[in-house]
Subunit: 633 residues, 2 copies
C-alpha cells in the first residue's frame, strides 16, 4: 500500500465556477420542427417575412359592402341590395362589389374588390324577389368595420421573436401564423454520465448486502438534473474502479458528448483511480474545492471534451451539480441563469460547523400558522439521499460562520422554483397506517425518524404533528388528534422452523434481528421482555443475553421482517401488518398504542385542518382494512 | 342558401367547466423506467422495501476499530494495533476486528464484524514493523463514529414518495437508492388535434393570398398547450369543411385518443358543418358559452371518446383551452390545478365592453420605475395571434362590468408562471435597425404599431421608449436617446422593367403598393409626393390619382417590397435595406430621420438603462453594417 494522497490547495468556490464557465459545452444551434419547438430557446431573431393576414379578411359572417352605400341605412329604412356572390373562407372572390350590390361573406373570407366593410348577418335579412336574391342591410357601417386588413396582425418586416426567447404556446402560434416550418434554436448539450464504484448495482438488480453493495443512484439523479438544466443526458452503465475500464469508457463517452460527467472515485484514497486516468490521458485543471459537501471535485478534459468529476456521495454530487454545473449547462443551452427562489426564515435549532470551508447546509422549511417560516437543518451526511429529499434548499454558511443560532434569521436558497413548503409536517414513528392516511392529503411531509425523535422535535416546535407511542405522547402537551393500536409480535419464516410461540423461544433461535432504540416499537418489545423476565424470576439482562442477535439492530419498522423474508435472519420483531405483507409467519405478542399529537399553536393552519378532516373521515375505515390495526379515538 | 342558425341558450362559463370536468379523459396509470420518470406524477404511494444502506457503511477512508479500544488514544499516546485486513467499497469483509487489530476501510466499505467505529486516515499513521503492518491511532472515537448504520438513510417500511408527487431530481435519486426500476405514474392523456377550415395551409407550404389562405396555427399552438398541460398531442393534418372528411377524421382520431379537440367550424354559418357531424354521429352536450372570446364552443362525444370543439379564431381557441381544457388535461394527468399567478395593476387606458358576456380581456403589463404595474388592453381581435403574443394575461370583465376606467385597479391573471413583465417596452415605427438593437437586451418587448401609435401611447405614459419619425418626435417631450437616418425610395422588380427612376415614373406603373397611414414611412412618401407635385405645378391629389394602387395600402415596412419580390406588384415604397434583403431593385428618393425617445420618468428603470448602454455601444456599428442607415447621435 502506498502513502495515501491528501488534498492540498483546495480552491475557493468562485474559482470552481470560473473553471467550469471556461469549459465550452455549447452544442451550437440546430433547426427543429415547429411541432417540437415549444420550450426550446430561439437562437436568432425571427422577423416576419409575410403579412398576417395576407389579405383583407372578414371577421364576421355577413355581407361585404361599400361602406358609403350604408351610411343612411337604419332599422326603419334599410339599404336594399342585390346579392351577387358568395365568398367562403378559402375562396378567391370572383366578383366585385359595386353600388347596390353585396356579396355574402363568411368569417375568414377574403373581402372582395370594391368592398371596404362587412355588415354582420344579424343586422340583415334576405329574401327572394322574383328569382333574385336580395339583402336588406339594417345598419350603417364605416369603412374597415369587421375587416382585418392585410398585415393588421403581423406586418412583414416586424420583429416577431427575439433571440433567447423560450418558446411558449403563444409564440408557437405566432410562428405558425408566419408560415414557419422549422425554428433555429440552441442545441441541448449532450452530457455523458459515468458513475463509478465497485459497490454499485443498477436499480432493479439484486443487491448483495454482505458485499456492501448499494444502488447506483447518481446516474439516475444526475440524468434528471441534466434534463432539468436543459441538457440531454447520455447514460452508460456504471463501471468499476478499474483504470482501463475507466479510460475506455471516458474516451468513448467523451467522443460523443459535449460534456463528460463522472461521479465517484474522485477522492484521494488508494482505491480511487479516476483522477489518475484524467491526469494521464486528459487534462486535470482543478482538483478539490473548499466547499462542503463536494470537496473532491475535478475539472479538466478527456478525449478533447470538457470533463467534470463529481464526488461519489450523492449529496455532494447533486449539490455540486446544482451550484456549479447547472449554470454551465443552462448557458450552453441558451437559457438565462436560473433565478433561484429564496425564502427568509428563522432557525428552529442551532447548527455548528467549523471546518473552514463554505458549507451548503441542507435545510427544510415549515410554515407556522401565520406563514412565518421555520428553518431546520437536515443533515444525515453526504452519503444519505434523504439529506436532500427531506430538505427544501440550502443555507450557505461561509467559512468564517461557525454557528447558526436558534432563532437567527437566515436566507434559504430553495432547490427549485417549484419547491413548496409541505402542507403539513409530521415527525415520529414509522407506521403503515399513517403512511396510508397521508395519501389523502396534498403535499404532506412525514419524517419517519421514530417516536423518540418525534417527541424531541415536537418539543422544539418544528412539526405540525407527531406520531408517538404512549410514553412519548404522555411526555408532551399537544392536541390528541387520533389514537390507534397496532398488533406486534415475532416474525419467523414460513413454516416456523424453530417453533417459536412466544418470547421464551427466542433463546433457541440462531439469528434474531432487533429494532434500533429510536424505533418506538423497540420500547414495547423491551417492556414485554422485562415482564417476561420478571415472570421467570430472571433479570432482563440475562434474558436478552440469551437472544442471539438482540444487539443486532435495524432502523426500519419492516426491516426485521424483511430480513426474515430474505432468509438473512430466522426471527425478528415486527408488526402483524408487515408479516402479512411479506408473507412470513407472525407470532402475536401484544398491541401498542400509537397517538397522533397536534401542535396547539398550528391548529388553524390549513394543512392541519385538512389532516384533521382526513383523520375524521378516513382513519377508522383505513384501520379496519389493515391487518392488526384498531381505531380507538 | 338556408336560413342561418343563430346561437341560443349560451351557457355560463361555470356550466362549461362542469361539462368538461364530467368528461373522462383519464388514460389510467402506467409504469415508466426510472430514467424517464423525472417530471412525471406518481400514481401510488411508494414505501421503502429495503434498508438504505443495507449494511453498516463507513463514511470515511480510515480504519475500522472497536471504539472502546481507542478510548485512551491521543496524539502523544496513540493506540497501536495490527492491520489484519482491507475492505474496499464493494468488498465482503473477510476478517473480524478483535482487540489490538484494525482493518483498513474505504469510504463506502462495509464495517467488518467486531468493529463499531471508523478512525479517519488523517488521524492515523502506518508503518512496517518486522514485516508486520501496524497502525497508530492518534484519536479516540465513540461507537458509531463515521459509520452510517443499516437503514439510517431510509428504513424498510418508511413512506418514501406519496401519490401525486411530481418527481424531481432528488426523488429520482431516492427511488434509485431504493432499487426501483420502474415507477407507477399517471399516464399522459393523448389529445387528438383536428383543425378544420378550407382556408388553412400548413406552415412551410405556399400560401395563396388571393384565395384568402392563412397558415394553420391552431394545430401547432394547441399541441404546445396540450404538452404544457401534461398531455401528449396527437396531430393530424388539418382538414377542410367537408362533412364526410370531418366524420372520418374525427372517428379515426377518436379511436386512438383520450380526448378529441377540434378547432374551427363551430359557428353556425352555413359553411360550418362540424357541429352537425357531432350531432349526427356522436353526442352534442353543449354548444355555445357566454364568454368572449370563445362563444362557439362544443362539448360532446365522438367515437365514444370525449370531444371538445374549439372555435377557429386562435385567440378564442387558446383562451378556451387555457381556461377550460387545461384544468381537465392536468387533472387527467394527475397534476394539481395550475396555480395561476396574478398581478395587481392600474389600467393605463379605459376599456369598454357591453355585450353581456364575460370578457376575458387580453392585457399586457409594464412596470414603472418603482415596480408598480400599468395594465393596457391588447385587443386586435380574436383572429389576431398578436392579441395573445403581445399580452401577458387577461383581466376578467364580468357581464355586468361595462367599463374599466383608466387608473382603475385590476387583477391580471397571467398566462403562466413564467410570464414576466418585459424588461423594457418600446412602441413605434417598425424598423430593422431597432429590431437588431433589441437583440442585445434580455426580455424586451417592441410593438411595431407605427410612429403615430407610438406617439399616442407614449403620451399615455405606457411605453418606456418610442421610435418616432421626426414630426411625431417633435410632438412629444422625452429624452432623445438616439437618432438615425434610413434611406427610402421605390422598390421595383429586378431589371426595373418599367424603368422607374423617380416619383414621376409612378404614373406609368400598373400596380403600385403603398404603405398604410399609420406607418411613419408613408408620411415621408406623401411629403416627397407633395414637393414633387409642387415642383410640377400640380396638385397632390392629381399626382396620387395617377398612381395605380396609391390607395392599395399595406401595414408592413417591408410589405410593399415583399409584394414586388413575389410578383404581386410592380412597384412600392420601401427602405433601401428591405430592397437589399429581398434582392429587388431600389430607386432612392430620400432619407428619413428616426428617433428613439425615452420616457423621462422611467430613466432609472433597469431595462431603460440597459437600453441606453446598448445604444451607446452597439447602435453606431450596427447602423454602419445595415444598407441605407446612418447613425446621427
Amino acid at each position: 500500500m502506498t502513502e495515501r494522497k491528501q488534498f492540498r490547495d483546495l480552491v475557493e468556490p468562485e474559482v470552481l465556477s470560473e473553471a467550469i464557465a471556461d469549459l465550452d459545452l455549447s452544442p451550437g444551434t440546430e433547426s427543429v420542427d415547429l411541432l417540437d419547438a415549444d420550450g426550446r430557446v430561439v437562437a436568432e431573431r425571427i422577423d416576419a417575412e409575410i403579412d398576417v393576414p395576407g389579405f383583407d379578411r372578414s371577421t364576421k359572417d355577413g355581407y361585404a359592402v361599400k361602406a358609403r352605400d350604408t351610411f343612411d341605412a337604419s332599422e326603419s329604412d334599410p339599404y336594399d341590395a342585390k346579392l351577387v356572390g358568395i365568398v367562403d373562407a378559402g375562396d378567391k372572390p370572383d366578383v366585385e362589389v359595386r353600388a347596390e350590390t353585396v356579396v355574402s361573406i363568411a368569417t375568414g373570407g377574403s373581402v372582395p374588390p370594391g368592398a371596404d366593410a362587412v355588415v354582420p348577418v344579424e343586422r340583415t335579412s334576405r329574401r327572394d324577389e322574383a328569382g333574385e336574391d336580395r339583402v336588406s342591410i339594417r345598419t350603417a357601417v364605416a369603412p374597415g368595420d369587421n375587416v382585418m386588413h392585410s398585415g393588421d396582425d403581423v406586418a412583414a418586416g416586424d420583429r416577431a421573436i427575439g433571440p433567447g426567447t423560450v418558446l411558449t404556446t403563444r409564440d408557437i402560434g405566432l410562428l405558425a401564423a408566419l408560415g414557419t416550418e422549422t425554428v433555429p434554436v440552441y442545441g441541448k448539450p449532450t452530457v455523458g454520465i459515468v458513475s463509478t464504484g465497485d459497490e454499485l448495482v443498477r436499480p432493479g438488480e439484486p443487491r448483495d448486502e454482505e458485499r456492501g453493495q448499494i444502488y447506483d443512484l447518481n446516474t439516475f439523479a444526475i440524468a434528471a438534473a441534466v434534463r432539468a438544466a436543459g441538457g440531454t443526458p447520455e447514460v452508460v452503465p456504471h463501471i468499476t474502479d478499474d483504470y482501463d475500464q475507466m479510460l475506455e469508457t471516458l474516451e468513448v463517452v467523451g467522443g460523443r458528448c459535449d460534456l463528460v460527467l463522472s461521479s465517484g472515485s474522485t477522492s484521494a484514497s488508494d482505491a480511487d483511480v479516476l483522477y489518475r486516468v484524467v491526469e494521464d490521458h486528459g487534462e486535470l485543471d482543478l482538483h478539490g474545492v473548499a466547499v462542503k459537501p463536494g470537496r473532491p471535485t475535478i475539472v479538466g478534459e478527456i478525449a478533447s471534451t470538457p470533463y467534470i468529476g463529481l464526488p461519489g456521495n450523492p449529496v455532494s454530487a447533486l449539490s455540486i451539480f446544482r451550484a456549479f454545473v447547472t449554470p454551465a449547462v443552462r448557458d450552453a443551452a441558451g437559457r438565462p441563469p436560473e433565478s433561484v427562489p429564496t425564502v427568509q426564515g428563522t432557525m428552529a435549532a442551532p447548527k455548528r460547523y467549523s471546518e473552514g470551508r463554505t458549507y451548503l447546509l441542507p435545510v427544510a422549511v415549515i410554515e407556522d400558522v401565520s406563514g412565518d417560516v421555520l428553518v431546520y437543518p437536515v443533515d444525515k451526511g453526504s452519503g444519505a439521499i434523504t439529506s436532500l429529499t427531506e430538505a427544501d434548499g440550502v443555507v450557505e454558511m461561509p467559512p468564517e460562520t461557525e454557528l447558526l443560532e436558534a432563532g437567527q434569521s437566515v436566507t434559504v436558497d430553495l432547490f427549485s422554483e417549484d419547491t413548496q413548503p409541505p402542507s403539513v409536517l409530521g415527525i415520529g414513528e414509522s407506521d403503515p397506517l399513517v403512511a396510508r392516511l397521508l395519501d389523502h392529503i396534498d403535499g404532506p411531509r412525514y419524517l419517519s425518524h421514530g417516536s423518540q425523535e418525534g417527541r424531541r422535535r415536537f418539543r422544539d416546535g418544528i412539526p405540525d404533528f407527531a406520531v408517538l407511542t404512549e410514553g412519548d405522547a404522555e411526555a408532551v402537551s399537544g392536541d390528541r388528534l387520533a389514537t390507534v393500536t397496532r398488533e406486534w409480535g415475532l416474525v419467523v419464516p414460513e413454516g416456523n422452523p424453530h417453533d417459536v410461540s412466544g418470547l421464551s423461544d427466542l433463546a433457541d433461535v440462531d439469528s434474531f434481528v432487533n429494532l434500533a432504540e429510536n424505533v418506538g416499537l423497540r420500547g414495547a418489545f423491551d417492556t414485554a421482555l422485562a415482564s417476561h423476565a420478571a415472570e421467570q424470576g430472571d433479570s432482563l439482562a440475562d434474558v436478552t443475553a440469551r437472544i442471539e442477535g438482540y444487539e443486532r439492530t435495524v432502523n426500519g419498522i419492516r426491516s426485521p421482517a424483511q430480513r426474515v423474508a430474505n432468509g438473512a435472519a430466522d426471527s425478528g420483531v415486527g408488526l402483524r401488518f408487515s408479516a402479512a405483507e411479506l408473507a412470513v409467519e407472525f407470532v402475536p405478542i401484544s398491541v401498542q398504542e400509537l397517538l397522533m399529537v397536534g401542535a396547539p399553536e398550528r391548529r388553524e393552519k390549513a394543512g392541519v385542518k385538512e389532516l384533521q378532516s382526513v383523520i375524521e373521515t378516513r382513519l377508522e375505515p383505513l384501520a379496519a382494512r389493515l391487518a392488526g390495526y384498531e381505531f380507538q379515538s
